[in-house]
Amino acid sequence: MTLKECYAAMGSNYDEVLGRMRSERLVQKFVLKFADDGSFDLLQKSLAAQNYAEAFRAAHTIKGVCQNLSLSKLGASSSALAEALRGGGWSEEAAALVEETTRDYQETISAIRAFQEALGG
C-alpha cells in the first residue's frame, strides 16, 4: 500500500497535501504520527465527562490537524462536530456527529495502520 492509496482509503486528497508539504517523506512522517495523536482520546474522555467545552476544543484540534494533513473526510466530520459543540451544549445532532466522527476516525486510523504494516512488511 502506498501513501497515495492510504490517502484514498481515508477519503482524502494526497495531491493537495503533497503540494503543500512538497515531500512524501514529511507527509508520511506526520500521517504516521497522527495515529498517536491524543486529541481523539481527549474528545472521547471529555464527552464521557460531559465536558462539552473541552470536547469542542478537542474536535477543533482534530479539525486543525486534519486540515494540515489534508485528511478531508475526518476533517469535515470533526469540523461539523466542532460547530455543533461550539455553543457548549449537547444535542441530537452532536450525538450523530460524534458517531460519524468516530467512524471516520477509525476508518482513518485503520488505513494508517494498514499503510504502516505495508511499510513494515
Partner: protein
C-alpha cells in the same frame, strides 16, 4: 373609493345648489328692496320739488298781481276824480300800462267801461265784498264770447256816467297774459299748473285739460273707480275750505301723478300743480331694471366664482383621493410582495430542506454503501450551502431593515478581493461553460479602505446573477479600473463593472430591481432560485459605502452593472516591488490589458513588449532569438484568437528550446488546464487580474533562476528568514511538529509554547526583542490565543507590539474580526500554507 367619490360629489353638488339658491334670494331681496326705496325716494323728491315749485309759482303770481294792482292804484292816486279829462286820461294811462280794459265798478257791481270789451264778473259776491270793504281784489271776468279775463279791482271813488260814484277802478288783463307771465304753458317742463276757483272752475287752464271744472276732470280720471276720484275731490275741497296746502299722489292705473294745491293771494283762487311721474317713473324703472340686471349679473359672477372654487376643490379632492388610492395600492403591493416573498421563501427553503431530509433518509437506508452515502452527503452539502445562503440573505435584509448593518472598514487589497472573487466564481463558470474574463487597468492604488467582506458580497452577488442569468456558453466580464476621485487626493475612485450577455432585464424590472423582495415575475426566471433580496442588499451596501450603481440592460442582449466607489487610499506603505531588468513579452488579445500590464511591469522595473496574438508573439520571439537577446520570461494568455496559449507554448518550446519560462495568464482555474499546460512545456501560471502585485509575486520566483524550467523550490522565496525567532503557541504536538517542519525550511527558528499561558510566560521571560513574531493558535487549553494576545499587548515591554499572527482552523469573518480586535496583526487559516505565512512574516517582520 367609488362610493366615497360619489358621496363627495353629492355633497358638493347639494351645497353648491344651496349656496346658489341662497345667493339668488339675497340678491333678489336686495333688488326688490332697493326698487321700493328708490320709488319712495322719488315720491319724496317729487313732493319737495312740487312744494318749492308751487311756492315759486304762487309767489310769482303774487308779485305779478301785486305789480298790476300797484299800477292801478297809482292810476287812482295820480288821477283825481276832479280831473278835467278824467276818463280819457285814465284810458290813456291804462293803455300805456298794457291793460286790456278799464272800467269803474259801481256798488252793485255794474261796470262803467272806459275802454275794452264789456265784461261780467264770474263770481261777483266775494269780489264786491272785498271792494266794498276797501280791499284790493282779483277776480275772473268774462266777455260776451265767454273769454276769460283777470279783473284787478282797486277801491276808488270816481264819478260814473250814470251819475253815481264808483266803488272801485277795475282793470282787466287776459288770462293768457297771466298764464304766460307765470310760465304756466311751458311745454318743456314736466309740470303743468292750473289756477282754479273754489268751485273747481278753471281760471287758467293749461295742458290737456279740456273740461271747465277741475273737480270734474279729476273725477273723470278715475272713471273706473269713482269712489277714489270722489275722495280726492273731497280732500281737495276740504283743504281749499280751510285754506291749507294739499299734496297727494294720484295713482291712475299704471300712471302716477303728483298733485299739489295752494291758495293764491288777492283772490279766491287756488294754484293746482300736477307732476306726472311718467318719465320719472320710466327713468326710475330704467334705474330699477339696470339695478336688477347688475344685481343678477353680480349674482352670476359670484356663482361662477363659487362654481370655479368648487370645481377646483373637487379636482383637488379627486387628486388627493387618487394619491390616497395610489398610496394604498403601493402599501398593498408591498404587503403582497412580502407575503409572496414569504411563500417563495418557504418554497425556496423547503426545496433544499426536502433534499436534505430525503438524502439523509437514503443515506441512512444505505449506510453500508459508501458510494451511495457519499453521493447523498455531497447533495446534502450542496443543499445546506444553498440554504445557508438563503438564510444569510434574509438575516442581512433584516439587519438592513432594522438599520443594524454596519460596515467594517479596513485596509484591503483590491488584488486580494479580485483574486478571491475569481476563485469563488470559477467553479460555477466552469460548470456552465461560460467565457469568463477579468480586466483591470489604470490601477494606481491597490490598497484601499473598505469592508472587504461586504465588497466581496456585492461582487459575488453581481457575478452570481450574471452566471445565473447567462445561458451555457455565454460570456461574463469583470472590469476594474481607477481614476482620480472628486473627494480629494486621499481618495481614489474605483469602478467595478460586471457585464454579461445573458437574458437581460425589462425596463420595468430595471426600475425596481433594487427593491426588496422583488424578482422578475416571468416564467423564464421562475426556475432560477433566489430570495430576491440580493440586489436590495447589494444596493444598501453600496449606498452605505457612498457609492452608486448603474444598470444597463436589454432583454436578450445582456446586462451590465457598474459600481462606482470613492474609497480612501490605505495608509500602509506598499512594499518596494522591484524586479530585475528583464525583457518580457506579454501576449493577450485585449490591447488594453496588454498596455496596462506593460505599464504595471514598467513600474516594477521590467521592460515589456506586447503582442495581440500568438503568431505575432512567435515572430517577435524569433527576432530577438536571432539577435541572441532572448526574452527572459514570456506571458501567454490561454484563450487567444487563432493559435491558443498552449499550442503557442508547444511551438515556442519546439523552436526555441526550454530555457525561457513561459507563464500562462488566465482568469480560469489553473488546475483545470494544468496537465495540458505542463505537457506543453508551460512553466507556471499567473491568475488574472494582473495587478502590479500579482505580477510581482508571480514573477518574483524567477529572480536568480530565470533559466529554470521547473517550478522554483520553496527555498528560493523564503531564504531570507535566516535565524528569525518565532514563538509558536499550539496545543497539539502534531500540529506543532508539522509547523516546525514546514516553517524551519524557511530558515525560521521556532520555539514551542504549549498553550497561551506558556506563550505569555515565555515572552515575558525572553530578552527584549528576542522573538521576531508570534504565531498563535486560538483554541488552546488553560489560556486561549485571544487572551494570550491581550496579555502580551498589555505588557509594558518595549517589544509588546511584535507581530502576532493568528493560526486557526476557523475562517469566519467574525473570528478574523475578533483576532484583529484583540490586537493581532493578521490571520491565517489552517492548513499551514508556507507561502502565505512567509508572505505575512515578510510583511510584518520587515515592517518593524
Amino acid at each position: 373609493m367609488n362610493s366615497q367619490k360619489k358621496s363627495t360629489t353629492r355633497f358638493l353638488t347639494v351645497s353648491l345648489l344651496l349656496v346658489a339658491v341662497f345667493c339668488v334670494c339675497i340678491f333678489s331681496f336686495l333688488a326688490f328692496f332697493m326698487n321700493q326705496k328708490s320709488a319712495e325716494t322719488i315720491s319724496s323728491v317729487g313732493t319737495i320739488y312740487m312744494t318749492s315749485m308751487s311756492e315759486k309759482v304762487s309767489q310769482h303770481f303774487e308779485t305779478t298781481i301785486d305789480l298790476r294792482l300797484i299800477q292801478v292804484e297809482s292810476l287812482v292816486e295820480t288821477i283825481s276824480p276832479k280831473h278835467s279829462a278824467l276818463r280819457s286820461t285814465l284810458e290813456y294811462n291804462a293803455q300805456a300800462r298794457g291793460f286790456e280794459g278799464l272800467a269803474f265798478c259801481s256798488d252793485d257791481g255794474d261796470f262803467d267801461v272806459l275802454y275794452g270789451d264789456p265784461l261780467t264778473t264770474a263770481d261777483p259776491d266775494p269780489f264786491l265784498k272785498s271792494l266794498r270793504a276797501g280791499e284790493k281784489k282779483v277776480a275772473v271776468g268774462l266777455d260776451k264770447n265767454g273769454e276769460k279775463f283777470v279783473l284787478l279791482g282797486v277801491p276808488a271813488r270816481y264819478p260814473m256816467q250814470d251819475g253815481g260814484d264808483s266803488i272801485a277802478l277795475v282793470a282787466s288783463l287776459t288770462a293768457d297774459y297771466v298764464a304766460e307771465t307765470l310760465s304756466l304753458y311751458s311745454d318743456n317742463s314736466l309740470v303743468y299748473s292750473h289756477i282754479i276757483r273754489n268751485d273747481g272752475s278753471f281760471v287758467i287752464r293749461s295742458g290737456d285739460a279740456y273740461r271747465d271744472n277741475y273737480f270734474e276732470r279729476l273725477q273723470s280720471l278715475f272713471d273706473s273707480v269713482p269712489e277714489t276720484g270722489d275722495q280726492y275731490v273731497h280732500e281737495l275741497q276740504e283743504a281749499m275750505r280751510t285754506g291749507e296746502d294739499y299734496s297727494t299722489l294720484l295713482q291712475i292705473g299704471e300712471e302716477r301723478r303728483h298733485l299739489y294745491s295752494t291758495k293764491l293771494a288777492y283772490s279766491e283762487w287756488y294754484l293746482v300743480t300736477v307732476l306726472p311721474y311718467g318719465e320719472l317713473d320710466e327713468a326710475v324703472n330704467d334705474l330699477g331694471k339696470t339695478w336688477i340686471l347688475m344685481v343678477y349679473l353680480g349674482c352670476a359672477v359670484v356663482l361662477l366664482a363659487l362654481l370655479l372654487i368648487f370645481a377646483q376643490y373637487f379636482k383637488l379632492l379627486l387628486g388627493q383621493m387618487q394619491e390616497l388610492a395610489e398610496a394604498k395600492k403601493a402599501a398593498e403591493h408591498a404587503n403582497k410582495a412580502k407575503s409572496e416573498f414569504l411563500s417563495n421563501m418557504s418554497h425556496d427553503i423547503r426545496t433544499p430542506m426536502n433534499a436534505i431530509v430525503g438524502m439523509t433518509a437514503i443515506a441512512t437506508a444505505n449506510i453500508n454503501d459508501v458510494q451511495q452515502v457519499q453521493n447523498c452527503l455531497k447533495k446534502i452539502t450542496l443543499s445546506s450551502r444553498h440554504l445557508l445562503g438563503l438564510i444569510n440573505d434574509v438575516l442581512d435584509m433584516s439587519k438592513i431593515e432594522s438599520g443594524k448593518l454596519t460596515l467594517n472598514m479596513d485596509q484591503i487589497s483590491l488584488r486580494e478581493v479580485m483574486d478571491s472573487i475569481v476563485s469563488i466564481v470559477q467553479p460555477q463558470v466552469r460548470a456552465k461553460h461560460q467565457r469568463f474574463d477579468v480586466f483591470i487597468h489604470d490601477i494606481s492604488t491597490e490598497n484601499v479602505c473598505c469592508d472587504s467582506v461586504r465588497l466581496n458580497q456585492v461582487l459575488i452577488n453581481f457575478l452570481g446573477n450574471a452566471i445565473k442569468f447567462t445561458p451555457d456558453g455565454g460570456a461574463i466580464q469583470v472590469s476594474l479600473y481607477e481614476e482620480d476621485s472628486p473627494k480629494g487626493v486621499d481618495f481614489i475612485r474605483v469602478h467595478l463593472t460586471v457585464k454579461d450577455n445573458g437574458i437581460g432585464m425589462t425596463k420595468e424590472f430595471q426600475e425596481k430591481i433594487f427593491d426588496s423582495f422583488s424578482r422578475e415575475d416571468s416564467t423564464r426566471v421562475r426556475k432560477t432560485e433566489g430570495t430576491g433580496l440580493g440586489m436590495a442588499i447589494t444596493k444598501y451596501i453600496v449606498d452605505a459605502m457612498d457609492g452608486t450603481i448603474d444598470v444597463e440592460s436589454e432583454l436578450g442582449k445582456g446586462t451590465e452593472f457598474h459600481v462606482t466607489l470613492d474609497l480612501e487610499r490605505a495608509q500602509i506603505q506598499e512594499e518596494d516591488m522591484i524586479l530585475p531588468e528583464w525583457n518580457l513579452l506579454v501576449t493577450d488579445d485585449d490591447q488594453q490589458l496588454c498596455e496596462s500590464t506593460v505599464a504595471s511591469l514598467k513600474s516594477i522595473g521590467v521592460r515589456a513588449d506586447w503582442a495581440l496574438d500568438a503568431e505575432t508573439a512567435i515572430k517577435m520571439i524569433e527576432k530577438r532569438h536571432q539577435h541572441g537577446d532572448d526574452y527572459h520570461i514570456i506571458l501567454l494568455d490561454w484563450k487567444l484568437p487563432g493559435m491558443d496559449g498552449i499550442t503557442a507554448a508547444k511551438e515556442i518550446r519546439r523552436r526555441f528550446g526550454t530555457d525561457t519560462p513561459i507563464l500562462l495568464i488566465s482568469a480560469y482555474d489553473w488546475s483545470e488546464i494544468e496537465t495540458d499546460a505542463k505537457a506543453a512545456g508551460i512553466t507556471g501560471f499567473i491568475s488574472k487580474p494582473l495587478f502590479k502585485s500579482t505580477l510581482f509575486y508571480g514573477l518574483k520566483p524567477f529572480i536568480g533562476a530565470p533559466q529554470a524550467t521547473d517550478e522554483p523550490p520553496p527555498e528560493e522565496i523564503t531564504s531570507h528568514f535566516d535565524g528569525k525567532k518565532i514563538l509558536l503557541a499550539e496545543d497539539n504536538d502534531l500540529n506543532w511538529e508539522i509547523a516546525e517542519e514546514l516553517l524551519s525550511e524557511l530558515g525560521l527558528d521556532l520555539e514551542w509554547a504549549e498553550n497561551g499561558q506558556i506563550c505569555v510566560e515565555k515572552f515575558e521571560a525572553s530578552p527584549l526583542g528576542y522573538y521576531d513574531a508570534i504565531l498563535m493558535d486560538l483554541r488552546m487549553p488553560v489560556m486561549s490565543g485571544y487572551e494570550a494576545t491581550r496579555a502580551i499587548r498589555a505588557s509594558e515591554r518595549a517589544d509588546a507590539s511584535l507581530p502576532i499572527i493568528a493560526m486557526t482552523a476557523d475562517a469566519f469573518s467574525e473570528d478574523i474580526k475578533k483576532c484583529l480586535d484583540c490586537g493581532m496583526n493578521a490571520h491565517v487559516a489552517k492548513p499551514i500554507d508556507v507561502r502565505e505565512i512567509s508572505r505575512l512574516l515578510d510583511k510584518y517582520i520587515n515592517q518593524i
